[in-house]
Amino acid sequence: MASVSVIEAGRPVLGRRSLLRTWRGGLQGSEFAWALAFCIPYVAVFLAFVAYPIVYGLWLGHNPALYAELWQDPIFQMTVVNTIIYLAVGVNVKMFFALLLSGFFMRRGWWVKGLLMIYVLPWAVPALPTFISIHWMLNSQWGLLNNVLWDVFHIDGPGWLDTSRWMALGAVIVSYIWKNMPFWTVILLAGRMSIPQELYEAAEVDGATGLRRFAHISFPLLANLYLVCTLLSTIFTLGDFNTVTFVSGGGPALTTHVLATIGIRDAFDIARPDLGVAAVMTALPLMIPLVLILMRKLRTSEVQL
């Protein structure tokens, strides 16, 4: 098999499968040992910091009475609803806008590039201070938002985080989108940039522009990536502790908690670690299918063009 020139090696992968198919399957003895050795560090990390804690966690939360106690608590029921809304609305709205904005950022022009640089700032700046900043912005007495509303529009802004559960939850979701949308926009943008220009040009010749171009070319090719990103984002969001904690604090009156935060609250504020673990374990019936689907998606080979 002749070696491939470096230039050709740099092209995006198209039609690699034929070559991969001819790769010798199975490893000889010494190579096998090398391959194993390379895997040992991660296996050690996995066993020590994933397998053992999960098993210990399952053991801590194995008492069925805990779950009965949880489900009877109206706060917990509200928490489950909040979590579902947070995931369904937060993740999907965020990904949708990320998709749209990734299209926007494909435009040429130095000012678009400059805008992208600013746009990514929320992701780069650490979570804790920005969420606290948002919490203060939404303070009904001296927060920036209500000050602006008063000074500019002479409207007495409502108590964003104090009055109603839905407003507070909305504020949390908006903060979440604010922080995380840039990351996924960049990922989708990268995905778009890997679509060859020829396809778009061919489509333009056929008279497809704008929306139709999106529907027939961009979207089908991005679909798989979009799905994988949504799955990953759902998984990450389910464990998101910082947003709810620092923006709404679970308030008003414990009505905007999500599973991640109620678990910590039960474990540490009420001194019932077993209850806390049980609270987070209730997310398993949702998590396991998600991860299984993700695994399948990642196993299949790349999208055919």
């Binding site: 050795a37 040992i40 604090g249 679970g250 008003p252 009156a253 009420i270 001194a271």
Partner: protein
């Protein structure tokens, strides 16, 4: 570069894993003279400096070493819970609300070392309420014993901005001397100040919150006691929720608090305040009056004399029925979890701390935010009742001279869970936000409390 052979890589990887599994976890404190101590970080730097100096004194006098960590209030609570759950505990712990939140349940489960010898040795010195607060019920041994070594106490006084009251044209000295009327005094103050253009000013900072851990419960209990409901849990650990006097007190308290909020006299954010938020709001002059534990509100402004002197610290007005009021005494102390590796040094250190001279100098250096556990000290040392300080005398009187009662979790650990789950805060929220009547909210709260307390039946031997 030396080419690593396959063999060497494998060997290296295997060795790393093997080494990892053989690492001795947490070098045991084999040396007889070192104790690990977790102590709450103070709210002002002087408190930490004071602690450091008594540790230095102890180490010099005894030759033992104290390996201490000064951890802030909230993270320390979490560390303690994690440590006790996992079994890997330090030798001595002191947390500011341990008497209400940690010691009751853990003494119940026999997870704390008995310290009767230490407490009894100072029995004559201890304030009777503090002495009572050191005894908890152990459900494994089925009896009460001493599990907690008090060294400081605190109560909840009122904090009022004198300039704001005077700006509204009132005098603080005219404030009524009974409970509800005292609170009502501040309502017209708000109206007058709003008329003068102070858009965001509220009269009282009532902590109607379900975050905490302490303020919301302190507030409600103060109202409860002022309305005659102190018998909700008695010394034998039994709840008295069906006592009509208790029920009436609960309903009256809920009614007053909810009406104050709905009347716009309380900042709306109070529904989510944590223990620090009301202090910050008070400092920013969002409200005229705050009801908050210790004099940390004033002490935080110690270095700004103008502000320091502009706040008035007042003790409790009389009960609504005219009878003398009693403050709930919070008791701070140390406890030793079972499984501690060096119980001896821990005990020695606490014995040192509760010597009158040491206790006095430690708390004095901490700017007097906490009161001693020995009444004799406030009588013998002029610092405590020094009339030139605008805050300490009233605070000391409320805590160590006037009548006080113990916090309910001391009697029954179930009540610690009641506090932690913020049942009273939820009841207030029910009336304010969910449209329940105070009677309905009271019934709901009672049901919850009954369920919790039923898990902790106390069989007094």
């Amino acid at each position: 570069m030396k080419v690593p052979t396959r063999r060497s890589v494998l060997r290296g990887a295997a060795a790393a894993v093997a080494a990892g599994t053989l690492v001795r976890p947490y070098v045991a404190n084999a040396a007889a003279g070192t104790a690990t101590v977790w102590w709450t970080q103070g709210f002002v730097p002087e408190e930490d400096a004071a602690f450091r100096s008594i540790v230095a004194e102890y180490q010099k006098a005894s030759g033992n070493t104290i390996d201490y960590s000064l951890v802030p209030f909230a993270p320390l609570m979490q560390k303690i819970i994690s440590a006790i759950t996992s079994g890997d505990v330090p030798d001595l712990i002191s947390h500011d609300v341990a008497d209400q939140a940690i010691v009751p349940q853990n003494a119940w489960n026999d997870k704390i070392v008995d310290v009767s010898d230490i407490v009894e040795a100072q029995k004559s010195e201890y304030h009777p309420t503090a002495y009572l607060a050191s005894q908890y019920y152990n459900n494994v041994k089925k009896q009460r014993s001493f599990y907690f070594i008090p060294y400081k106490t605190a109560v909840v006084p009122f904090h009022i901005w004198i300039p704001l009251v005077e700006k509204a044209g009132y005098k603080l000295a005219d404030a009524p001397k009974t409970w509800d009327a005292f609170f009502d005094f501040f309502k017209p103050v708000q109206k007058k100040l709003r008329d003068q253009g102070m858009r965001s000013l509220y009269s009282m900072g009532l902590q109607l919150t379900t975050t905490g851990p302490a303020d919301g419960n302190n507030l409600f209990h103060a109202f409860l006691i002022a309305n005659g409901g102190n018998g909700i849990v008695t010394k034998d650990g039994k709840p008295h929720l069906d006592d009509p006097q208790v029920k009436e007190a609960v309903v009256k308290s809920l009614t007053y608090l909810a009406d104050a909020f709905k009347g716009g006299y309380v900042p709306p954010g109070a529904l989510s305040w944590n223990d620090a938020d009301d202090n910050n709001a008070f400092h920013s002059k969002l409200m005229v009056m705050d009801f908050d534990g210790t004099i940390s509100t004033e002490v935080a402004l110690y270095h700004d004399k103008a502000e320091y002197n502009a706040i008035a610290t007042l003790g409790l007005p009389a009960r609504n029925d005219g009878g003398p009021n009693a403050a709930q005494l919070g008791v701070g102390g140390g406890f030793i979890p079972t499984g501690a590796k060096n119980v001896e040094v821990a005990k020695e250190f606490m014995k040192f701390v509760i010597q009158p001279k040491v206790m006095n100098s430690y708390l004095k250096e901490g700017l007097g935010r906490w009161l001693p556990a020995y009444p004799s000290l406030v009588k013998s040392d002029p610092f405590w009742l020094d009339p030139s300080d605008p805050h300490r005398p009233n605070y000391v009187r409320e805590g160590l001279i006037d009548q006080t009662v113990v916090n309910y979790p001391v009697f029954n650990p179930g009540y610690a869970e009641v506090n932690a789950t913020q049942i009273w805060g939820s009841a207030e929220a029910d009336v304010i936000r969910n449209g329940l009547t105070p009677e309905q909210a009271a019934d709901k709260a009672f049901k919850k409390i009954e369920t919790i307390l039923a898990k902790y039946p106390i069989v007094q031997s």
